[in-house]
Structure formats: C-alpha cells, structure tokens
C-alpha cells in the first residue's frame, strides 16, 4: 500500500541496520517516546538488529498508560449514573481503575460504549435526547484535535445532553518533566510522528537547547525508525543536538495549523496528573472558557472514593524508562494481557504488553 510498503523494504532496512552496527562511539541510550513506536520496534524485531552499544528505552508515550486511576474512577462514577451513556475509545475499556474497569462497570449494567471516533459520541447524543452522553476523551496531540472538532460540532448543533470528561495530555511538557527529573540517561529522543503531524517540530526545540539532546521525529515503518536511529547517531558523532524530521512525508515544522486552531477553540492548557510522572504543569487539556456547558464534572453526579494503586505494579517506573518490564515481579505471572494489573500491560501500545507479546522470556 502506498506510503507504507515502500518503507518496509528489507534491502533499505538492512542497509540502515548495517550502518547503525558500524557505530563506534560510546554506548548510547535512545528513548522512543511514543507507544506506537514501541510496538513497531518490537513487532519488526528492530532491537535485534542493533549493536549492544545502541540501546532503546521506552518512554511515557502511551496515553492510556499515563492516565491515573483517579481519572478512570471518575469515568466509572459518571457511567454508573442511571440515564448516562459513557462513550470512549476501546483502549480504555480494560484499564483497571482503583476499584474496577469500565469493562467491569459495563458488565455490571452501566451503559458504556466503545467509539472509534469522538463524532460517534456526538451521534449517540443526537440519537438519545433523553440520556446524558459523556465522551471520556483520552489521547495526546494526535487525538485531541478530533475530540475538539467533535465538541465544536456538538456546540454548533446546540446539543444540551452531550458532556465531556478530559484525560487529554500534551507530550512536550512530559518530556520536560522526564528530562528535568534526570533519573535516566537519554542520549537521543525518537519523537512521536503522529503527535508531530499536529504540533510540528518547534515544540521540541527546548530539548537540544536546554539539555543538549538530539531529537528525530520518526515515522512508524521499520525503515523510518532505523533511519531515525541512524540520524541520531550521526548527530551524536558530530557533537550536534538539533530537532530533525525523518517523517517528512507527514510532518511539517509548523505542524497542522488548522488542527491547532481547532484544539484552541475547545480547550485550554492546564495542569494534569500523569501516572508515573505525577502532576505536570501545563500538560493537560481542559474545556476552555465558554465551553463549560459540556463539563461532565460540573453537571453530572460523580461519587468517587479516594484512588488507590495496585501495590506490586511498577508501571510508573516502566513509563519513566527506569526499568524494563521483566524487572517487575508480577510481569508475565500475576500480570498478563489476559489478567492485567497495570495499564502498561492492558494497552496494545503499552511497553509491558509489547515485551510480553514479542519478547517471550524477556
């Protein structure tokens, strides 16, 4: 298929892998920020092509994984109201909150529905005027414009039974928090391709400037990721730290101005809580002034108990790149994709799920 198969050519991948294997500098740790990259790296066996001195770390780039229990608890509390339909992306269904998951709430009688697009939630609200329909929005800058467009559409339609609960988060502030914490050595960042189709390359410029770390925005095919790694190694060899775009077919430096404008029409930036990283200023998207009519937390009843975490789960350390999943005592035994304890095992883009599915035995 166009724009996919050309970037899977084995000859190009092998040439890039050979070039990477010639790396003669000191050991380097490169972090792939995005969960979709993590899965692609495992699915295509890219780690096995790299020399031991080029190490890949997985970062906090799975929106499902970084959603804290409290936000899931809120969604479940809203869904538990009679007369409420809660719609969300399928990825959120099995993620355990403090006391249950949305899938369990649905099994207990709550009306929870999976939506492929946030526009489906708007359509559910149109079709069910006597019900309150809540869309539980989760995702980074790739997804947030689609939710924003749906909210603006609900406003245009004058829907009074459509509400919104936000778990939307922004990537660059999380990278700043991770780098500022300095818990893990990062010699280069593979920046998320689809987040960058929206935000462009400029929001990452603080990384080379303030932390002297090179960044490459990468696509998701094997050739893309190997080229991004080669570009990072080239910059390290030359002592350069810049933001470069490998995924040029989809990413422009300015991003997608229309999508950014749509986001700004529905959301304003504020603080957010991240699983593993804690509270990060200016890292979340909340309804902007004038959009309060959609605030589920304001208009619907929501009884929540204090959040609690699974004691043995080490997802927080996995998300910060501090440990690999097999270092968690419950990985692959008490915590499996069938019976996940933490979100990194639930999400198809979670680091633990990728290790479990593609690297048996760790």
């Amino acid at each position: 298929m166009r724009f996919l198969t050309e970037f899977r050519q084995p000859a190009l991948a092998e040439a890039l892998a050979e070039r990477i294997r010639r790396w003669s500098g000191p050991p380097v740790s490169l972090m792939e920020v995005c969960g979709t990259h993590t899965v692609a790296i495992f699915r295509h066996g890219l780690r096995g092509l790299l020399p031991p001195q080029v190490r890949l770390l997985s970062g906090p780039g799975c929106p499902v994984c970084v959603t804290p229990n409290r936000e899931i608890d809120k969604a479940i509390a809203l869904a538990s109201n009679p007369g409420v339909i809660l719609a969300t992306f399928g990825d959120m269904m099995k993620v355990p909150g403090s006391y249950s998951s949305l899938a369990e709430a649905k099994a207990s009688g709550a009306d929870v529905r999976v939506a492929y697009s946030p526009m489906e939630a708007v359509e559910i609200a149109q079709g069910n005027p006597k019900k309150a329909v809540v869309f539980f929005g989760v995702g980074f800058e790739t997804t947030a414009p689609t939710t924003a467009a749906s909210l603006l559409e609900a406003k245009r339609l004058g829907l009074r039974n459509f509400f919104f609960l936000s778990a939307h988060k922004l990537v660059p502030p999380a990278l700043m928090a991770l780098l500022e914490a300095g818990e893990v050595r990062i010699d280069g960042l593979i920046c998320p391709g689809h987040v960058s189709t929206i935000i462009g390359s400029r929001p990452y410029e603080f990384i080379p400037r303030d932390y002297a770390i090179p960044c490459v925005i990468s696509g998701f095919e094997p050739v893309d990721i190997l080229q991004a790694i080669a570009m990072l190694l080239d910059m390290r060899a030359e002592g350069k730290a810049e933001v470069a775009i490998q995924y040029r077919r989809a990413v422009r430096p300015q991003g997608n101005p229309q999508a950014l404008e749509t986001m700004a029409g529905a959301f304003q930036v504020g603080g957010a809580e991240w699983r593993g990283l804690g509270p990060i200023p200016q890292s979340g998207l909340h309804l902007r002034d004038g959009m309060e009519a959609f605030a589920a937390e304001r208009h619907l009843e929501m009884k929540i108990r204090p959040p609690r975490e699974a004691v043995a789960c080490r997802c927080g350390e996995v998300l910060r790149g501090l440990i690999n999943p097999p270092e968690c005592s419950i990985f692959g035994t008490g915590c499996t994709p069938e019976h996940p304890v933490g979100p990194c095992m639930v999400s198809t883009e979670g680091t633990c799920a990728a290790w479990f599915l593609y690297k048996p035995g760790g």
């Binding site: 298929m1 050309e6 989760v138 689809h194």
Partner: protein, 76 residues
C-alpha cells in the same frame, strides 16, 4: 492510540470524504485538513483526516536511502 494510517481520498462532500485504505472504503471528516483534494493521501485517525501526505517528500526520502544502500553495497 496515536496510530494513523495513510488513506487515499476518493470523493469529498462538504466536510466528509470517502477514503480508501487497503481496498476498504471509509468515511473521514476533513475539517482538520480543509485544503484536501480528491486523489490526495491523508493520515486517517479516529475518523478524521489529520494531515495530508507529501508525495515528493516520501520519494526524496526513499531515493536518499536507496542511494545510501547502493553506496553501502559498493563498500562491501
């Protein structure tokens, strides 16, 4: 979550397009890519086209890599 796939725009009606991906046809909202045209390739995510793809940039990347691969083979 941030997975997006390339799809070809087959027809456009207002702010909705029919797009083709891997032999399947789907609807996509186009309000985030207002200048999209029939025949363009877009990235499809959560029912929305979120960016148009640049054919020239794709070919340039592939050309560069192919030349690098040939040069590598020459060295060996």
């Amino acid at each position: 979550m941030c997975l997006a796939v390339p799809a070809k725009v087959v027809s456009i009606d207002g702010e909705t397009a029919l797009v083709e991906l891997g032999g399947l046809t789907r609807q996509a909202r186009t309000m985030l890519v207002p200048s999209v045209k029939v025949g363009d390739y877009v990235l499809l995510h959560a029912g929305f086209a979120i960016q148009t793809l640049d054919e020239a940039a794709a070919q340039e990347t592939l050309g560069l890599l192919a030349r690098m691969a040939e040069a590598g083979a020459g060295e060996a």
